[in-house]
């Protein structure tokens, strides 16, 4: 029934998109981009500690998927999780404060970038362990099924994580039990510093869906419309009790694996070329302007709003207190 993954493109005319959805697309992508660039700056300035992995270039993927989700749906994120967290609707102030290690952060300064979470919007956590989220998303979906909601869970993962055994166990369990989970592969071409194709058996991770009897779909992950439309179908399918699916979004990691990565494994030219050719934000701008779905002024107003919001978040994070030493023993046991 689903031996080969299906390649899909955006087919809906822009007139079918509400202004609200288009605004969500643009605002979310810009918010993620600017958040990440701000984080990068303050990491290099020494104000943000720890290990930080940026989502620059991959904004369309989180945005296109999340436009289909409700607050009560769940996502499991990765160590590159800021984009997912923002797109799921988390408070930027608390996020930024968390990255700065402040007590006002969403995890009270105990998680940091790699372990950011905001349960109030169904964001069940980034994960420092590559491939750590598959099974937990599957379990959250099991709970949704048991509770007889039509909620869904999304497991974000990279091409690197697709080689973990957790992928196999979770995909099989989800398919065997027809659970409402979407496995969303962000194939950004790089498993840390290793080109994924040198360590992965297939060109398309979505090929693997057939092994679990679930549909596999491939889209251009830098086209927010394509991601949105493909995700919509798979989310609706899961809500309707038809079980899990695998959505592979082809994208490209513009920044290094982590902030500070010397990137000895690729050329600056390659990155610049990819950014020029595939950056999802100008692609969106060109498309909506050309189709007269949005005006330059509208886009500018959104960018301005995002700038303000980020400024506030930054101010909040920088002026918030660090956790008191007594917090060390808090939240260890209930």
């Amino acid at each position: 029934m689903c031996a080969q993954p299906v390649r899909k493109e955006a087919t809906l005319p822009l007139t079918k998109y509400s202004k609200e959805t288009l605004t969500f697309f643009y605002e979310t992508m810009v918010k993620i981009r600017n958040f990440e660039l701000t984080v990068e700056k303050f990491f290099f300035d020494g104000e943000i500690p720890g290990f930080v992995h940026l989502y620059v270039g991959e904004e369309a993927t989180a945005t296109g998927m999340m436009a289909n989700l409700r607050k009560t749906d769940y996502i499991q994120s990765t160590h590159r999780g800021h984009g997912h967290t923002i797109a799921k609707g988390a408070d930027l102030k608390k996020m930024m404060a968390e990255l700065f290690g402040k007590s006002t952060g969403s995890c009270k300064g105990k998680g940091g970038s790699m372990h950011i979470a905001d349960f109030s919007v169904g964001m069940l956590g980034a994960n420092g362990i590559v491939g750590g989220g598959f099974t937990m998303a599957t379990g959250a979906a099991l709970a949704q099924k048991m509770q007889e909601t039509d909620g869904v869970s999304v497991a974000f993962f990279g091409d690197g994580a697709s080689n973990r055994g957790t992928f196999h166990e979770a995909a099989n369990m989800a398919a065997a039990w027809k659970l409402p989970v979407i496995f969303l592969c962000e194939n950004n071409q790089w498993a840390s510093t290793t080109p994924y194709r040198t360590t992965t058996s297939v060109d398309d991770i979505a090929d693997r869906a057939a092994g679990y009897g679930m549909p596999g779909v491939i889209v251009d992950g830098n086209d927010v419309f394509a991601v949105y439309e493909a995700a919509k179908e798979l989310v609706e399918r899961a809500r309707g009790g038809e079980g899990p699916s695998l959505l592979e979004c082809k994208t490209y990691r513009i920044k290094g694996h982590f902030v500070g990565d010397p990137e000895m494994y690729r050329t600056k030219d390659e990155v610049r070329r990819k950014l020029d050719e595939t950056d999802p934000i100008p692609r969106f701008e060109n498309k909506v302007i050309k189709a007269r779905a949005m005006t330059k002024k509208e886009l500018e107003a959104i960018r301005k709003k995002v700038d303000e919001e980020l400024k506030e978040a930054l101010e909040f994070a920088r002026t918030s207190p660090v956790p008191a030493e007594s917090a060390l023993f808090e939240d260890l046991y209930v």
């Binding site: 009270k108 105990k110 599957t138 166990e169 979770a170 808090e330 209930v334």
Partner: protein, 330 residues
């Protein structure tokens, strides 16, 4: 916990855990159980027999042979508002899903700043039985007491098995529940009335004057026999059943050692890096002045569990070995 007036009944350890599951699943519809061979087989030791009939396939589930997915899915389900019980089949298989246990289940509450506890129980049948050898016989509790965020319990008898399992299911924290395989058939008195055994509380099983013998799980029963041997020789042993391995009940431990002035710890697990090492260290740090003799640890030799009977016998802790070790302290 149970007053003398309580009516008692005699059931097996296995039945005691089954009653705990039945009562808690009837009480709270968020509680469910999943693991390998639970529905059709009733659990490899029969400890789930009848449960599927009572609660249906939706709450008692046979899983794929996927320990990683079993634990990970239970963590995810707990985050989504359920209260899962996972059966590990054999405690040895926890190695397959160690990441899910110590990086996810144990840490989520803390590293996400207390947003949501992982309220689940991982049942793990452990210990020596029927010459099952290296990969089906281990006692691994020490690994888990090393992980902040987990609670680790290990009952030694049917009454505690029931009370601790019920308390574990109700506890909001993630619990490792180690149940010794050779205990499943053990019979013992269990109160008719509903009760909980508090987590974090050791029990003085028998008062004594000369030496404190701390143990838990199956080895607690061997320690009781060792104490009987020693009593006949005029050595009065105070027996402390730890029941909860983490968090350790320091108070009961230190009170007992202050009274007897001697400490021995016996467990089936390998002695090196075992629970006994932690207890010995606590007493050495906090009560060394009380001691009239060096602390003695009785644990398995530093080898994998061997298969052949004489080798397994050499590996196994016995009442005689415990008694012999304690004699050296007097």
């Amino acid at each position: 916990m149970c007053k003398a007036v309580d009516t008692m009944k005699t059931i097996t350890f296995s039945q005691a855990t089954l009653e705990a599951m039945q009562e808690e699943m009837a009480r709270d519809e968020r509680v469910f159980v999943m693991g390998e061979d639970i529905v059709r087989q009733g659990g490899i030791f029969g400890q789930f027999k009848g449960l599927p009939d009572m609660f249906g396939a939706g709450r008692v589930m046979d899983t794929p042979i996927s320990e990683t997915a079993i634990v990970g899915a239970c963590v995810g389900a707990a985050l989504a508002g359920m209260r899962p019980v996972a059966d590990m089949h054999f405690a040895d298989f926890a190695g397959v899903c160690f990441d899910e246990i110590y990086n996810q289940m144990a840490k989520i509450y803390y590293m996400f700043g207390g947003q949501k506890p992982v309220s689940m129980v991982l049942r793990a049948p452990d210990g020596l039985v029927n010459q099952a050898a290296a990969q089906h016989s281990q006692s691994l509790e020490a690994f888990f007491m090393h992980i902040p965020g987990l609670k680790v319990v290990s009952p030694s008898n049917p009454a505690d098995a029931k009370g601790l399992l019920k308390a574990s299911i109700r506890d909001d924290n993630p619990i490792m529940y180690f149940e010794h395989k050779s205990l499943f058939s053990m019979k013992g008195e269990v109160p008719e009335e509903e009760y909980l055994t508090p987590i974090g509380k050791a029990k003085v099983v028998k008062e004594g004057a000369d030496v404190t013998l701390v143990s838990y799980s199956m080895t607690m029963n061997l320690s009781i026999k060792a104490a009987e041997i020693l009593e006949k020789e005029g050595i009065s042993v105070e027996l402390v059943d730890l029941r909860t391995i983490s968090p350790i009940d320091k108070e009961t431990l230190l009170d007992s050692v202050a009274k007897t002035t001697r400490l021995a710890i016996a467990h089936e697990a390998v002695k090196q890096g075992g629970v006994g090492a932690e207890i010995a260290a606590i007493v050495a740090e906090e009560a060394v002045d009380c001691l009239d003799a060096p602390i003695v640890r009785i644990g398995a030799p530093f080898t994998p569990v061997p298969f052949a009977r004489p080798l397994e016998q050499a590996y196994r802790i016995t009442p005689e070995k415990i008694a012999a070790a304690i004699r050296t302290m007097m």
